[in-house]
Symmetry: C2
Subunit: 392 residues, 2 copies
């Protein structure tokens, strides 16, 4: 078939997976593999996790600076004020099967909301920030509502005095988080909020580059995040740990995986492959997970210990090849410790990462350029059309 | 702010818009600017438009070869058999405002359908072809249903004896297309079916590269297609022509646009910028449009003539700079001649291009590689976190 391949196409260099390629300029997130640090808008992520609220970090990512007291109050007020969803969206949630994938449910809800509101890209920054804050505020509410509706539980109304992470936990679980739980939710929300051009964020700017609307960019990003090589990984991690079942099975599990050359979920990341320091998010999440696991004990501590043993086992065998734990290992554990069902993990990633998607889209639009690559043609050309009756 | 920019990031080459960059290998579509031809799987698009049915072309793109009589019969049978949509999707359509954007409605319908069916990527080619044929078959049905429901008209049931393009026209318009109309619909369906890595197709493989599911890839592609720099252009073209209103206004319109350095919809395409032959799809669509316009006369012929005058005026002024008509100019005209309301044009693009999206995703999965580029950081690093009370 490839006999008549076009000569011009020979020898074209193909950038598979766009690996190592710079496609954009950004002021949002910087991953410094030399120092093992991640910066949001120039601020060390570790410091932000320690000192800042989720609202401060979201404001920082969206607007490019830490808010002052007045700005933070106004931003928080807007987020709080939009914690209600249309009754038509609730009707839609009730039309879905109880075991629908929560990440699909989030996407569908935004899709429905944006279709009804006829969102298009007006080019107005004000409109886009308004929609962004609206969606950032509503996504956790939709998730909590779906969780409770699908379980046959009464929905829990938002509470004015709770901030964004606390209100989500409260609306989903029906009780206020204790301080350690609150720290866990807040840490996950901050850690997942951006990570430069992850596939979903790149998808968001790719869609946005056609001047499609912000809602469309987010719907596309959610479609990407669903994938097991991206946002689906924190779900797989928990299922894997539960399948391993006990610390003493870890060694055998890892050995067999390596022998069969199978991927071990929660390990390896293209960006950190050649870094001796690994993913800087791992130690942050691990310490919060340890604290919560030790406090809760029992099956929770058991899951944490399996993860820690996995980390040691995999790192000692594959660390020299750049395979180390990634963000999803202890994020998955932490979500388990918070009693989140594994199917909800990718959706929780989404309700945090939406901040990074919006920040990136708005930044990309400042100097928009349609993303439209080429592909190297390796098929035939000039085949003769044969009438149907003469085909074999 | 950029004083403390990280030194490593200086001088990194940024591939804005991925222009001129090869990101994939393909056997699906080849654009040969030297000869001014487009090939689907090695067959000249012009010949396919002339001799092949839409079903043959869809089969060719999806399976890599022209079907024999038995294969074509089976494929057509499957497409026909799936021309019904769940009553729950019809309920959803009835919940939408009558003036919702049809492209949003298509996306939402797939989103709803896939969420309810809990589609994930099983990795099975059989499953994926099944979903693909299902969606290719149902998309035109959804569009026709929404059109008639939103206009308060009775829905029209599919007819067994009609092929894919004829059945769509029949279900939307409530009458069988005459031979010239049929040729127009079929030509648009074939011409729009693929165009290598257009933004929406690139979006589809980007999402698919996380091993997310085929439905998710299509939902993301629809989000891209909505943009006015992509699938939204055939809508803008018609609105522009109607605004111009008369052939004799064309010269003034073009002059003013050029003076104000504004984009003229339906002109210019990155892939054909340096080609002396322009977009090969333009003459094909133009001849079908001319035939239909002359047959229908009146306001239809007027719109065709404005488009033709626009083509001449823009090409004589900007042709030397590579600005020539693109596919959307006469596709937009043709859709107007078929009495399709301009808001529906991007959705009609979608019900054809879904074939190319599927073909590309299934091909990409054969040698899947996660798409995950980098971005050049141009912001500050090492900013000191200042407590809220000390911020100005």
């Amino acid at each position: 078939m490839s006999l008549c391949q076009h000569a011009d196409e020979q020898g074209k260099k193909v950038f598979w997976g766009l690996e190592g390629l710079y496609v954009n300029e950004t002021e949002i997130c910087y991953i410094d593999n030399d120092s093992g640090k991640i910066y949001y808008r120039g601020y060390d992520l570790e410091e932000l996790v320690k000192y800042a609220s989720f609202e401060e970090v979201a404001y920082l990512l969206l607007y490019g600076k830490l808010p002052n007291a007045r700005e933070l109050e106004e931003f928080s007020r807007q987020l709080r004020a939009r914690r209600f969803i249309d009754s038509s969206v609730i009707d839609l949630l009730k039309m879905l099967p109880a075991d629908a994938y929560p990440i699909d449910v989030l996407r569908l809800s935004i899709d429905y909301y944006c279709t009804r509101k006829k969102f298009i890209n007006t080019g107005s920054l004000k409109d886009n920030y308004e929609l962004a804050i609206d969606l950032i505020s509503k996504l956790p509410v939709v998730l909590a509502y779906f969780y409770r509706i699908s379980k046959g539980l009464d929905v829990v109304l938002p509470r004015e005095e709770f901030d964004h992470p606390a209100n989500f936990y409260y609306m989903m679980m029906g009780r206020e988080p204790d301080p350690v739980e609150y720290e866990a939710v807040k840490t996950i929300f901050i850690i997942y909020a951006d990570h430069s051009l992850a596939n979903s964020t790149f998808t968001a700017i790719t869609v946005a580059s056609t001047l499609s609307d912000l809602g469309s960019a987010i719907i596309a990003a959610l479609s990407s995040l669903k994938g097991p090589l991206h946002g689906g990984a924190n779900r797989e991690v928990v299922n894997m740990i539960l399948e391993i079942g006990d610390e003493e099975n870890v060694e055998k599990f890892v050995k067999e995986k390596i022998e069969r050359k199978e991927r071990i979920m929660g390990f390896g990341h293209r960006v950190y492959k050649s870094s001796s320091r690994g993913d800087p998010r791992v130690p942050i999440l691990k310490e919060v997970a340890r604290k919560l696991a030790e406090k809760k004990g029992g099956k929770y501590l058991k899951v944490f210990k399996i993860a820690e043993r996995l980390e040691n086992e995999v790192t000692s065998r594959l660390g020299s090849k750049g395979v180390r734990p990634n963000v999803d290992l202890y994020a998955g554990v932490l979500l388990y410790l918070l009693d989140i069902p594994p199917d909800y993990n990718p959706a929780i990633f989404a309700i945090s990462r939406i901040v990074g998607w919006v920040a990136h889209v708005l930044e990309y639009w400042k100097h928009n350029r349609l993303i439209r690559p080429l592909e190297r043609y390796v098929g035939p050309i000039g085949l003769k059309y044969v009438p149907l009756s003469e085909r074999e």
